[in-house]
Symmetry: C2
Subunit: 141 residues, 2 copies
């Protein structure tokens, strides 16, 4: 188990549409550097990615009453950094290695916003940081 | 003004030494991927960088009673994601462009942990995310 590329920084926001206006007007992000906003009902979120030269920002907005993002936004009403995502070659190998060292994996691996398997490691294992691991998309990099 | 490379994600921790043990034992970071821990008394922090293939994590520990990190750790005792740092070609050009658009720049540009000029943009301008801008180190990338 070894951390690979920093695939993205996950940022929770009350409104992706409003946040994208900020990234465009204040930080010079262009329309072709923004993915369409996608609904992921099974995860209770909407997401859009902002391309940065060497990585991405994932903007996350709650979707539905049961969204896990509501609690985060209650604590941080303006929004804030939610998680950091690193790539790994194989999600099951990473899961088993982490579990063998006593880490708490949250749920089973599932398909994430990039179409590859992801999992989340509990923040208590990483000094308060919620870490996502995702399989490197095939053919990328 | 346009966001450049994601230079690092800043992570506040109660103890850099303890956090580094976690990154080594759980996430496979090797000793040569960790910079020596440096004291930056004028900023009230100690910092160490963990190299990731395409970016870095900056671990930040409070230094001194007046450290700005104490307040963050009061709210997040285990630690957590503190800021995101993007590179820009020229810090004064970036500052002036941001100010012209109404952003609140926190203090004047100063030398950061990488030896180049940095500034911080108030989180209220970026939906709760504290954003650091730093001049790209000469000769890098």
């Amino acid at each position: 188990m070894k951390l690979g590329r920093l695939n993205h920084v996950g940022i929770a926001v009350p409104s992706i549409a409003v946040a994208l206006e900020t990234y465009k007007s204040l930080y010079g992000v262009s329309d072709d550097e923004i993915t369409p906003t996608r609904e992921m009902p099974e995860q209770g979120v909407k997401v859009a990615f902002v391309t940065i030269p060497n990585s991405q920002l994932e903007l996350i907005e709650p979707l539905g009453d049961a969204s896990p993002i509501h609690k985060f936004l209650e604590k941080n009403p303006a929004g804030g950094q939610h998680h950091v995502c690193f790539e790994v070659p194989d999600i099951y190998t990473a899961r088993d290695a982490m579990r063998a060292k006593g880490a708490m994996i949250m749920g089973e691996p599932r398909i994430g916003a990039h179409g590859t398997l992801i999992l989340f490691v509990h923040p208590k294992n990483s000094h308060g940081v919620l870490i996502e691991l995702m399989e490197t998309p095939k053919g990328s990099h």
